[in-house]
């Protein structure tokens, strides 16, 4: 793949930044996408291990609570988990749906919109959304911003963590560690176009096998994602461990971070400025003079002593 090398000019969006990103380079960088074909996943968790291995993460050993999910949720040191779901279809057949849950690398990332620290969250030209821990202040706004409940704040260093889509590997022309480790070809990686083609082929295959509602999960509400799923039941994404049906940046996050943010900032400046101009035009309320009658005034002062 061309143009996916490390290069600061390939940062196309940057958190808490009002200036435009570099504009000159364009056209050469192809957007990447990770395709997770849930229908081919056997739940071996090789990807989870590969993720920990490559990213040098060693989460605490947890406890078995009687289900296959382990750990039960994402943590600052577990950037992907397999979510196991038992689903009974219309015919009464039991289906074991296993979804690999990790950052979706949204085209319009809610975390990036919410982040107050300039450059702590960036999006590269190839579509990867990355946390730059160097600039992270640990406020947790990204947690509120994310429509998929992905970022986790570490108790060790109070910084936010999530899947990087192995941006370091991808920059050097390698596929993400999870893709490399998958024994069934359930996780594929390539250009966005190629992955959509592959996903369409897989969807057709599943439809041929009787999964009439098979489809691609690439939610438009966040501008599409750079991690897409092939689902047997694309009409019911929520059965796959609570995959949101129509994820979008919450209106509350928009109300907080949208146009109101510059408007309120300007209003505060204007308030101060109008105070100054009021003073300059109307003048102050001066200290009232004492009684003009000298005798009464001195009487008042006398009384006051």
């Amino acid at each position: 793949m061309r143009g996916d090398q490390i290069n600061l000019q390939n940062i196309v969006a940057r958190s808490a930044t009002t200036e435009p990103s570099p504009q000159v380079r364009h056209g050469g960088v192809e957007e990447v996408t990770k395709l997770i074909d849930v229908s081919r996943c056997i739940g071996c968790k090789a990807c989870q291990v590969a993720c920990s291995e490559w990213n040098d993460l060693r989460d605490d050993v947890g406890e078995c609570v009687g289900v296959y999910d382990n750990p039960m949720d994402l943590t600052p040191e577990t950037w992907e988990v397999m979510r196991f779901n038992e689903y009974e279809d219309e015919q009464g057949n039991l289906e074991w749906l296993i979804r690999k849950d990790n950052c979706m690398h949204c085209e319009e990332p809610g975390c990036l919109e919410a982040c107050p620290a300039p450059g702590a969250i960036v999006k590269y030209a190839n579509g990867i959304v990355d946390f730059n821990s160097e600039h992270c202040i640990g406020c947790g706004y990204c947690v509120a911003g994310c429509p998929f409940d992905i970022p986790r704040i570490s108790k060790k260093d109070e910084k936010a963590y999530k899947c990087t889509l192995c941006s370091d590997r991808v920059f050097h022309g390698l596929e993400p560690a999870c893709v490399k480790s998958c024994p069934t070809g359930s996780i594929m990686f390539g250009t966005r176009e190629d992955m959509h083609e592959l996903a369409a082929a897989r969807t057709d295959f599943l439809k041929g096998r009787g999964y009439e509602k098979a489809g691609i999960y690439d939610p438009a509400g966040v501008g599409g994602t750079h991690v897409i799923y092939v689902l047997q039941h694309a009409d019911k994404p929520e059965i796959y461990g609570g995959l949101p049906e129509d994820p979008r940046i919450s209106p509350m996050v928009d109300a907080w971070k949208g146009v109101t943010k510059p408007l309120m900032s300007a209003a505060i400046g204007l308030a101060a400025l109008s105070g100054f101009f009021h003073y300059a035009t109307k003048g102050p309320k001066e200290e009232p003079e004492d009684d003009p009658d000298e005798e009464k005034a001195s009487e008042a002062r006398e009384e006051d002593k």
């Binding site: 107050p116 109070e158 509350m252 004492d290 006051d304």
Partner: protein
């Protein structure tokens, strides 16, 4: 040289009120500066005042809790003087006269005018909201256990409430600069009789009436620093 400054004047704010007011004021300004830094990138450089962005994020909530404690101490004794009266409504209706310094047209008011009372009530509304929403989003201590919808709601409400409080603060500070003698009242505690009569004549009448009734008490109150 018959200026009122030569008078010792009437005690308007006792030391307890002054102490609490300025503790709240200083904390509030620090909260505004650190809060704005995290609100819009335009204000990001304010993080430098607090020793960096992470320090800003970490200190802001502690200052907030500190301020709330002193705000409560400040607000309780001011409660009675802040109840809105009929003449306050009339005063507000004549806000144009207020702004144009046509003070002679204004109705006589008590110890606080309607503007001061509004500041009181707006802040009394804002501070608890800011405290509760702030605690909900406070990392690393409280936010971890909160549902995401609540984090979103709180962070939004916190921003809007802070906006209202900051605008109120700007007006409040400006009023102090605009109405000569009021900063001195809050710093040193006293105002001249002429000032009291001019700006708060009902309160002035009350004070004078009390002085006539208890001439001994008057000596007490002016002899000791308050």
């Amino acid at each position: 040289m018959s200026h009122s400054n030569r008078e010792r004047g009437i005690l308007r704010y006792r030391w307890w009120t002054r102490l609490n007011h300025w503790t709240v004021a200083i904390s509030f300004v620090l909260l505004v500066l650190s809060g704005l830094a995290l609100f819009h990138p335009f204000f990001w450089s304010l993080t430098g005042l607090f020793g960096g962005p992470i320090m800003t994020r970490a200190w802001h909530p502690f200052i907030g809790v500190f301020m709330t404690l002193f705000f409560v101490l400040l607000a309780i004794p001011l409660f009675k003087d802040s109840l809105i009266k009929r003449y306050d409504i009339q005063w507000l209706k004549q806000i144009n006269d207020v702004l144009s310094n046509r003070d002679e047209r204004l109705p006589p008011v008590g110890k606080n005018n309607a503007g001061q009372k509004l500041v009181y009530w707006i802040m009394l509304g804002c501070v608890p909201i800011l405290l509760v929403t702030g605690i909900i989003i406070w990392r690393p201590y409280f936010a971890e256990g909160m549902p995401i919808w609540l984090l979103r709601f709180s962070v939004m409400v916190h921003a809007y409430t802070a906006f209202l409080a900051i605008i109120t603060l700007v007006i409040h500070i400006y009023s102090g600069i605009w109405v000569k003698g009021s900063i001195r009242a809050m710093v040193q505690g006293r105002v001249s009789k002429a000032w009291a009569k001019h700006h708060h004549s009902l309160w002035y009448d009350e004070v004078m009436k009390e002085r006539k009734q208890q001439p001994a008490a008057k000596d007490d109150s002016s002899a000791r620093p308050q």
